[in-house]
Symmetry: C2
Subunit: 768 residues, 2 copies
Amino acid sequence: MTEPLTRRQLPEDPRLRAFLPMLYVAWADSELRPGEIRALCSRIQREAPDERCEDLLGHWLDPTAPPSAEELADLLYAVRNSAHGLEATERRDLSTLGAAMARRAGHEPSAEEMAALVDVERALGLAPEETSARLLASARPDPAPGPERTVVDVATLREELDRPHPEVRREVLAVLADPAFERPLEPERAAYREHVLDRCRALADLGWGAVSFPPEGGGSGDTGRFMAIFETLGHGNLSTLIKFGVQFGLFGGSILHLGTARHHRDLLPVVGTLELPGCFAMTETGHGSNVADLRTTATYEPESDEIVVHTPGPDARKDYIGNAACHGRMATVFAQLHVGGRHHGVHAVLVPIRNDAGQPLPGVSVEDDGPKMGLNGVDNGRLSFDGVRVPRGHLLDRFGTIDDQGHYRSPISSPSKRFFTMLGTLVGGRISVALAGNAAAKSALAIAVRYGEKRRQFGPEGEAEVRLLDYLSHQRRLLPRLAKTYALHAALRELATKYSRVEVDDDRRELETLAAGLKAIATWHATDTIQACREACGGQGYLAANRFSALKADTDIFTTFEGDNTVLLQLVAKGLLAGYRRQFHDMGTFDLVRWVVGRAASDLAEHNPFVTRRTDADHLRDRELHRRLLEWRQERLLHTLARRLKARLDRGLDTFEALSECQDHVLEAAQAFVERVVLEAYDRWTREAAEPVRALLVTVGDLHALTTLETRKGFFLEHGIFDPTKSRAIRTLVNQLCGELRPAAGGLVEAFGLEPAVLGAPIAAGTG
Amino acid sequence: MTEPLTRRQLPEDPRLRAFLPMLYVAWADSELRPGEIRALCSRIQREAPDERCEDLLGHWLDPTAPPSAEELADLLYAVRNSAHGLEATERRDLSTLGAAMARRAGHEPSAEEMAALVDVERALGLAPEETSARLLASARPDPAPGPERTVVDVATLREELDRPHPEVRREVLAVLADPAFERPLEPERAAYREHVLDRCRALADLGWGAVSFPPEGGGSGDTGRFMAIFETLGHGNLSTLIKFGVQFGLFGGSILHLGTARHHRDLLPVVGTLELPGCFAMTETGHGSNVADLRTTATYEPESDEIVVHTPGPDARKDYIGNAACHGRMATVFAQLHVGGRHHGVHAVLVPIRNDAGQPLPGVSVEDDGPKMGLNGVDNGRLSFDGVRVPRGHLLDRFGTIDDQGHYRSPISSPSKRFFTMLGTLVGGRISVALAGNAAAKSALAIAVRYGEKRRQFGPEGEAEVRLLDYLSHQRRLLPRLAKTYALHAALRELATKYSRVEVDDDRRELETLAAGLKAIATWHATDTIQACREACGGQGYLAANRFSALKADTDIFTTFEGDNTVLLQLVAKGLLAGYRRQFHDMGTFDLVRWVVGRAASDLAEHNPFVTRRTDADHLRDRELHRRLLEWRQERLLHTLARRLKARLDRGLDTFEALSECQDHVLEAAQAFVERVVLEAYDRWTREAAEPVRALLVTVGDLHALTTLETRKGFFLEHGIFDPTKSRAIRTLVNQLCGELRPAAGGLVEAFGLEPAVLGAPIAAGTG
């Protein structure tokens, strides 16, 4: 392609030397354009009007015969050699550098020569300092050694994060650091299931399975402690977590909450030790979210005093049931109860499914759900019942029993209230999943932030490469998610504490609304955060050794189980429409809508916190402003939703149709509620935080609040609450806050207390 | 808890009978509130003032002794029995129903009695028709049988989608339908790698590996056909796809694009048949995105006429290299070339790494990257070289060679231009990954839409449950993503066609910008869509049999490899700043910024398409409006970005710092560019689509365009382009369009031509 060229000599005339840097840059950075060549030619000719100049121009500035790559490389090395040892001020830009090189060769450039150099530099259209730096940088210097110093009082922050039950958290993390609790990287499914069962036995041996059971069940009735154990196990192998949850939280919980003294006494002791592995068989292939329409039947037969449990078709198989494929000996089966020809709705019945040898009992069919996206250490399966008979006493009969005369009796006459009361006892599972999801988000952030602090890529010319976390885009990826994780932490811990203190017969509706909303938002946040963290770690993040693989696959179902998130947000909206005044789940939305329309109209008029167009940081960082903005958003969305629903009901649509038509609005209102709740809970937490970390937590809260407002800017602009200036000011402030929190990022994740042993990650351990 | 109650008798007086439905509802739907009891009591007493009434009130309306669950059940069955056989008009609401029941028992209610019934119904605050329907519905009816009829001319649509190379696509899908090409559900890694190698051999045996090679390399030089094969393989096992891509696209492509005739003649024939499995060893542990700073060296040694390839430290190991852990015999190694004491930048050198027995050659160290999140059928590994010597001829020397005199020569003198020209030849890989990502999104959507059409959950009282896809929220999840997949389809196919026609020496800068931008947006879209589809399939989506597991895990790295998406978008923005007028990758942003500032200021004044506040559908569905809005957004973001950069450069920041400070803005501008490009490409495609499907494709385009505008409403509101009314009108229209496209959804995915055999999904096959 290129013909051999006669090797060009470099000009020796010291005056011409001054032009060498520009000559190189002109050819090397891009092809020379005619204008550039003209600029060089005319100036050089004016400065060096003799035969050497002719020579130079002929050989080096002929557009038809550009210098070869090798000649250019020679030129570059000549420039670098000449520049070697010059002061920084002499290397500042190409004209200064050229002058210094001429001077070194014995020629002091005149004022005219200097002007010519500057002119040429300008004509080449260069950014002078940068170009000079690039030209002279033969290799990037190594970055300054050593890790970053943290600016955070990590010990104090960790104390804040560990409350309540700090001792439980440390104990659990210590157990997880035992290599026996590591997640195998490439487990073979059958062996993996046994491994995970063994891990659950080990946890049961520590007494952790029974913690929430009453003393007669082998525990201490400490729900808060149980939840702290569960949440912290969320930093470990999630198959172990979920198997633990299935056995002790769901199966055990169903006996605890739906059973009566007899069940507690007989079963909880063997459930808590895992002597009796069991299943929580609610979901069917055809019905998951719509529990009320489950099709499995449980029919009381007076002649035999037995209950007949039956699966009427393949759609009614119990599906995705943990412990069903291998280990479960008994199942809590949710079925439509029929007594004396009357249907009493969904009730739970204990059905033995396997004998001690592990064989399915007569009438019980088991299918394996097979490999799953994740959680393959849990043996999910399908259960079908062909007229399986159990004694009457197997009905978990706290909310509905069959008396000795064969009559159905319940402390709750209203069938719908009874149904939702039974489901409501399971709210602890939702809170637990939300806590574990947030724990998983913390694990992911701990890995990604540490990687972002170490890994460097690109940088200014001639300088060390820049840490990923020093890039605004990287901060934008990780820090708002870290802030939201902190905010959810506060909201979820508060909710768990509330739940652990609630009395059995208290009104749990508000708690249920909160649990539904926070579960949806926290588990979506986990999915989103783990994904962002994986991408932030690039190829390293894709290696199984770095844990994102397991985190992603294992948590993916969190958004579905214990209530599909989209369905849960609709429950939240219905709860809000009821204003907590009436029954949470009840369908009498009609009446509630009228009430809300009345209330919202008056409320909205009362508080408009947005009289100011201030855009200064003090104003924009005012938590009271954030709170009122999010509250206004919630109320406004609720108000307009109620109005839209009412218009549809008035037109003759039924509640279902009206809600369906407004479903996007329903979901948005529910999200707005959760956003406000989270902000307020976080605010309460930071107010009580210890002095040494309070200011930091306030800044974290600022970032969270302002990112939330930024995400919702469309809404606030649409409603005239933000003007464009304010909206832009918020974006700018979010960028600033990212920079402000950058030095604290390492400390903020270090305070999660996750040793590399727990994260199991080469990245986190510093070998990536 | 409840004491046994004397079983209450149902009132026999026909006048009282009229109140039974309300009596049931009052107790059953929620606890009776005092106001409700008073309403019932006073009305009933007025209507039935005798001892039977006392009796009724005493037994049924005593707030201190509510009826038992069993009594309520009896009451319900009594009402249902009485209502049995009544006309629909007689069951309309509770008062009408009560009247009909009284009439049936022999009592014609008077006008006063009717008024009383209506009053009570109102006092109970009920939605009359709904409550009556709920009361009388003992079980949901089964849904009407049979699948949905499609409203789409699927055959024609498929023809449109299959262009160009329809025969290739059908051929590839036929191969993928062979069970031998199924992705094993639970592959053991070592065996899986061999399985995938075998599949690649089978594809090579079909001649597909060499399709893009010239005839002397065993192919037909048909890049377009090769890309069509690759894209369609994206519907199958993605490990096979990526191994295929590594061998023929990357390893083969490096020889094809960076090598010269000798390399083509000697190597391509054995590369295309997979006799010589090879690696593309560019990325290092410490440098992925920043290729220019790779640390591996290739030093020419004149004495031996050899090139010495060396890995200076663990950070310089070649990492994540496909085919490296097991099968590769040779690697294209990217290294800093040094000739005669001069550094000439990154070049590619062919290095044999294993002997025929599969043992690493002396000086070559191999580590296995171990298990990964996905793509475990591909043997990624790390390669290190300890002064490994190869003959001079192993330099892939199209853009830089060492002549017989040991001098470096290149047809491109400028080192930076040479570097980006070399990288630019690899743009085909980016386009291919984007195509495969969109293919994966299509697979996911095909599964989720089919599931959404079949699966039912919840529904109006007493009616069949509703198909998931009939819910607005479900439509909102799937249909805009389906529309975007169609839009990306058009843009990517156009780009691939352009690429396949481009001549070797054409200016590829615009193509490179497009490829970088579309790769980023398409692969993020794939990740997002697969996630949304998994969630839309609930628990079914989590089972490995339904493919989301593999789709998610295998495509996750698409956002990272062939260029990290965030880095790519920054390249796009730089390309835009240059306005394609100057070298794409060149750092001389300074000059360009000045140019853009000038241009953007004048351009913006010229077109303001937003003089109208119209919010009617004709206006909002006008494609020219969409185009101008997205173009305005792009120009505006570019203009303000340029202004911000200039302000920083004027303040003395260097280009790197200035770009870093504006990085969020940089990314937004790049996204805006891609959004406009995609819309325009889709518009061109639909204009030329066959008549029977054009209107449908226009509606799909409307949904895509309006969803894009909705997503960006914050921007348009901030800039006063939308007023709140318009913004709201767009939301409403998006909802409407979802409903409009709902009946076509099945046809839109059926036209992808993916048989259940290819999807390998029980859901898709109809057994879920």
